[in-house]
């Protein structure tokens, strides 16, 4: 299956982003992109697991949409993932999430998917 054909939106040093992800609110030099703060990150984890999970599975092992585990995505450029999340994939059920996500959100989600997406906090009793 053809995967993420969208051209890269921007180039970025993955290592720098991984480091900055620990420091919420910091603007990445050069492209005015902020890393979502901790509260937003928690909301994004929930959104991906629950809402993206409708098609991709809560465990991201796939459904109508493809698997989004780190193993399944290995080798995909982060920019292509980000572009798919933000802009959707015309001709497929993958919707553009730009109405609900900023580009920074989409980038953070793409980064997390590539490294193994965080689990939801444990359910309340």
């Amino acid at each position: 299956m053809l995967f993420f054909p969208v051209p890269c939106l921007r180039r970025k040093l993955a290592g720098a982003v991984a480091f900055l992800a620990l420091a919420p609110g910091i603007t990445i030099a050069g492209n005015a992109q902020t890393v979502p703060d901790i509260g937003r990150q928690q909301a994004l984890v929930r959104m991906v697991r629950q809402d993206c999970g409708s098609c991709h599975g809560m465990r991201l092992t796939g459904g109508l949409g493809p698997a989004l585990t780190a193993a399944a995505l290995a080798g995909k450029p982060v920019e292509a993932l980000e572009a798919t999340i933000y802009g959707g994939r015309p001709g497929t059920p993958m919707a553009p999430w730009s109405a609900m996500l900023s580009e920074s959100d989409a980038h953070w989600i793409a980064e997390q998917l590539l490294t193994g997406f965080p689990e939801l906090p444990k359910a309340h009793p």
Partner: protein
């Protein structure tokens, strides 16, 4: 011997069915409590792989059964004696749960990725519809032994994801091939040689389907086109025709953040109420002429459009970000008469058998609300963790459920 066996079974069932499994007092020598299953149901707790067993007469949670795997997209059918629930999990797990003893009595991992299933009219076959490997598989409802495997091959070596599986009279099942734009009907009356009828060129990307309550019409929704595919199953050979063709023509398409679901509840009287794709509308079609007779603007992308058992009202829930709402359509006026907000992330609704109440799950509010369908008053609220699908045993008696 038979009598002793029956008493033992009844005692075990009664003791366990008399209270919540986690809080039940130690078994005592008291007379067994017998109960029926006609007012039982289950709620899927998607995050924890758990099935909650509920009682719709007392609106209570009876117990929880854990260990059902990945239930992020789970559906349930019931044995025709309404004692057992067959749960189809996302991870390909098929689990048979005894509602009386609140225990798993059978479980198989039957696929890599599954979307749901159906049960034959005679109750003997449980059939799963799978994405990976694409196809359907039939199981003995007693033992869960695999009895037939029918891959959805549409080109050499290529298997389609299967959607919209429904039971038909006889040991027949209809389903749609998302990747191939095809409807198939498989007859399992000879298990060694299942016979499949192919109906090609139905339209692009069927995403789900329903069979009308009389078993005559199979309708597949199309994601890739504005329209639905209709098959008259009483016609020989069955042929496909397009209905509601071009319903969104000329309009801006809105993002579809969740695929709608179709089931037999869509039919109310002689009209069917169907979700539009990419439009915040419910489409109304006459089931005699199959012509569009109306469109009802609603609060978001419809996911479930469900008629009450009496057909008087149709209830609609929505995809994110509008999924805190439920809207109610009066089928005599085609107007929305109520907008409810029972809690964030409404995922599913289920009517009690006669339709006096509807149970609505709100995933993010961790609650299931029981609502009076006449007064819209909230009759009860059950606190459960991330509820999704709600399924009552009355489904066992209905074709296409």
């Amino acid at each position: 011997m038979n009598r002793r066996h029956l008493l033992t079974t009844a005692a075990a069932a009664g003791l366990l069915a008399s209270g919540c499994a986690s809080t039940a007092s130690p078994p005592q020598a008291a007379a067994p409590v017998l109960r029926g299953t006609g007012d039982l149901g289950v709620v899927v707790l998607r995050a924890s792989g758990t099935l909650a067993i509920i009682d719709t007469s007392h609106r209570t949670l009876l117990g929880q059964v854990t260990g059902l795997g990945d239930l992020s997209h789970a559906s349930v059918v019931f044995s025709r004696d309404t004692r057992y629930a067959f749960v189809f999990g996302r991870d390909g797990g098929l689990t048979k749960v005894d509602l009386l003893t609140q225990a798993i009595v059978g479980r198989v991992m039957q696929a890599g990725n599954s979307i749901g299933g159906a049960i034959s009219a005679d109750g003997r076959l449980v059939v799963a519809q799978n994405y990976t490997p694409g196809g359907i598989k039939a199981f003995d409802a007693q033992t869960l032994a695999l009895v037939a495997d029918v891959p959805a091959e549409y080109a050499p070596g290529k298997l389609s994801r299967v959607v919209g599986l429904v039971d038909l009279p006889g040991q027949r099942f209809a389903y749609s091939l998302f990747d191939a734009g095809e409807i198939r009907i498989t007859d399992f009356s000879d298990l060694a040689h299942p016979h499949t009828t192919r109906i090609p060129n139905i339209g692009r990307q069927p995403y789900d389907a329903l069979v009308t309550p009389n078993g005559r019409h199979y309708i597949a929704g199309l994601f890739g086109e504005d329209g639905l595919a209709l098959v008259d199953l009483w016609q020989e050979p069955p042929k496909v025709r397009r209905i509601l063709n071009g319903y969104g023509r000329g309009e801006q398409t809105l993002p579809v953040y969740k695929m709608p679901h179709l089931r037999g509840w869509a039919v109310a009287g002689r009209r069917a109420y169907l979700p539009a794709i990419g439009h915040h509308e419910v489409l109304v079609v006459d089931t005699e002429s199959w012509q569009e007779v109306g469109r009802i603007p609603v609060a978001g992308q419809p996911v479930f459009v469900m008629a009450q058992p009496d057909g008087r009202q149709v209830w609609v829930n929505f995809a994110v970000p509008d999924y805190h709402r439920v809207q109610v359509i009066d089928t005599t006026t085609q107007q929305i008469v109520r907008t409810l907000e029972p809690g964030k992330a409404v995922l599913h609704m289920e009517f009690t058998p006669r339709g006096e109440s509807v149970w609505i799950s709100s995933r993010d509010a961790n609650r299931v609300s029981v609502i009076d369908t006449h007064s819209f008053a909230t009759q009860a609220v059950l606190e459960v963790d991330s509820p999704s699908g709600v399924f009552f045993t009355s489904r066992a008696a209905r074709l296409g459920f």
